[in-house]
């Protein structure tokens, strides 16, 4: 697994060297979310009703922003071809990239979410489910996003295309992510929703790298 670990380290180092990336993603997350009180008005009752949705949707959009560069840099400078020839299977390399991506986007988003929830007047009972759903959901977002990024590699208007491809596939994650928080607030227990999020993650972990690697091989043909 040392090849895998080294690849994760490499991507992490690249991401952190560019420094601004994680900060920009979190910055967008916060800015987009606080647009809503300006848009719908600051009344606490209204905001608390839609807080779960706002946090999840803006987290989703923020995760989407950094996906385009997942494979772009390696593809442009030719190192993607070299990576494809490595002994470590391409699927494992995709998984390594997804892990690095999640550590630099999903994890910071989940960490910042409670602060935003405070600003958006989320009901106190929703905080545990908020954290749990984001921690379970954002890795799936990275995995599905990797498939989209691989498919749109080299396409015209790649960034917009990526969003078009990935957003419909994000909808189930969004539905159950918000559902978990609403269930937690309503006292019904977020368990079933979180289990479904976990099931989606369990499904995406083997399948997304498979699809993304196939798409990468086609891009390299």
């Amino acid at each position: 697994m040392s090849g895998f670990g080294r690849l994760v380290q490499r991507d992490l180092r690249l991401a952190l060297r560019q420094g601004g990336d994680a900060a920009m993603v979190v910055g967008f997350f916060v800015l987009a979310a606080i647009l809503f009180p300006f848009g719908v008005g600051p009344e606490p009752e209204l905001l608390s009703r839609i807080a779960a949705g706002i946090v999840w949707v803006t987290a989703l959009l923020a995760a989407l922003l950094s996906l385009e560069r997942l494979f772009q840099a390696d593809w442009e400078d030719g190192s993607l071809e070299a990576l494809a020839l490595m002994p470590l299977p391409l699927e494992a390399q995709v998984l390594a990239k997804c892990l690095a991506h999640w550590l630099v986007t999903g994890l910071p988003l989940a960490a910042t979410a409670p602060l935003l929830a405070l600003l958006l007047q989320l009901d106190a009972a929703g905080y545990p489910a908020l954290l749990a759903s984001l921690l379970l959901g954002t890795p799936t977002l990275s995995l599905i996003g990797a498939v989209g990024a691989a498919l749109s590699l080299g396409a015209r208007r790649g960034g917009v295309l990526l969003s078009l491809l990935v957003l419909p596939l994000y909808i189930p994650v969004l539905i159950f992510g918000v559902g978990a928080i609403e269930a937690g607030i309503g006292g019904f227990g977020a368990g079933p929703h979180l289990l479904l999020l976990g099931a989606m993650l369990a499904g995406a972990l083997p399948l997304a790298p498979l699809a993304a690697a196939a798409a990468l091989r086609q891009a390299l043909e």
Partner: protein
């Protein structure tokens, strides 16, 4: 493009030119009969009255929306595994047709729902998953047209089509897994159809008509795609010939 890549497509061109008139005529016939049955013969519903007649266009459109996507995914799998040149063309040709049926399903369903449920739209599991299906079609069409290199779009689209297949069981079973406003299955279910025969027959006739229409349109689009490929090959050989300053002459096909 070497010659043998056209060998199979040539057989398809011959087959489809023989089949097309029959397929088209059959489609027209079944749709005409279906319309007659749906509008004149089928009884009004005891609850919904005459509004139930929308079912005879809405349900076949819905069946086609899912069926076409399943066929697209199957063609994509064949294209990826066996690299059959016709499989790519089949998937590409089917996509706009499927999107059209899905749009029709959503629009007619909305009209029906406004009367029956009192709302033009509701975010229940069935409607949401069919809307997602529509966006999957649009995403597929955007992807296959987003590349300058001709084959790349079709190959990427094949993967996307297979990734989106998870949506089909969700559409089918959404009315069972969730409390939906949309009614549960009354035709394709384990115990057999619960719908009355006087309504089932017009439905099946219309569905068959839609399927034959789809087959006709698919063949037309595939023939068009093959002709376009031939045009590209001819133009390429023109350029090569002019570049080599070879003597001009009429092209033999």
């Amino acid at each position: 493009m070497t010659l043998h890549r056209f060998a199979n497509p040539a057989r398809f061109m011959r087959l489809s030119s023989a089949l097309l008139p029959w397929c088209g005529a059959a489609a027209a016939a079944f749709i005409a009969i279906g319309l007659y049955l749906a509008l004149f013969v089928a009884p009004p519903d005891y609850q919904q009255g005459e509004a139930v007649r929308i079912m005879y266009v809405h349900v076949p459109a819905a069946w086609m929306a899912s069926l076409v996507y399943a066929l697209m995914a199957l063609a994509s799998a064949v294209a990826l595994i066996w690299r059959h040149p016709l499989a790519d063309i089949a998937a590409l040709s089917a996509a706009p047709l499927g999107a059209g049926f899905t749009l029709l399903c959503l629009a007619t369903g909305s009209l029906w729902g406004e009367r029956m449920w009192g709302t033009w739209w509701v975010w229940d599991a069935r409607l949401t998953s069919v809307l997602v299906l529509f966006f999957l079609y649009l995403g597929y069409l955007a992807l296959v047209n987003a590349f300058d290199e001709p084959g790349r779009g079709a190959r990427a689209g094949a993967i996307l089509a297979l990734v989106g297949i998870v949506n089909l069981p969700i559409i089918k079973f959404s009315v069972d897994w969730w409390n939906t406003l949309h009614q549960p299955a009354s035709v394709f279910r384990l115990g057999g159809p619960t719908i009355d025969a006087s309504m089932l027959w017009p439905l099946l006739v219309m569905a068959l008509g839609f399927t034959l229409l789809f087959a006709t349109l698919l063949m037309i689009r595939m023939r068009t795609a093959l002709i376009e490929a031939k045009i590209r090959a001819l133009m390429l050989s023109e350029i090569e010939r002019h570049g080599a300053a070879a003597p001009r002459g009429a092209v033999t096909s």
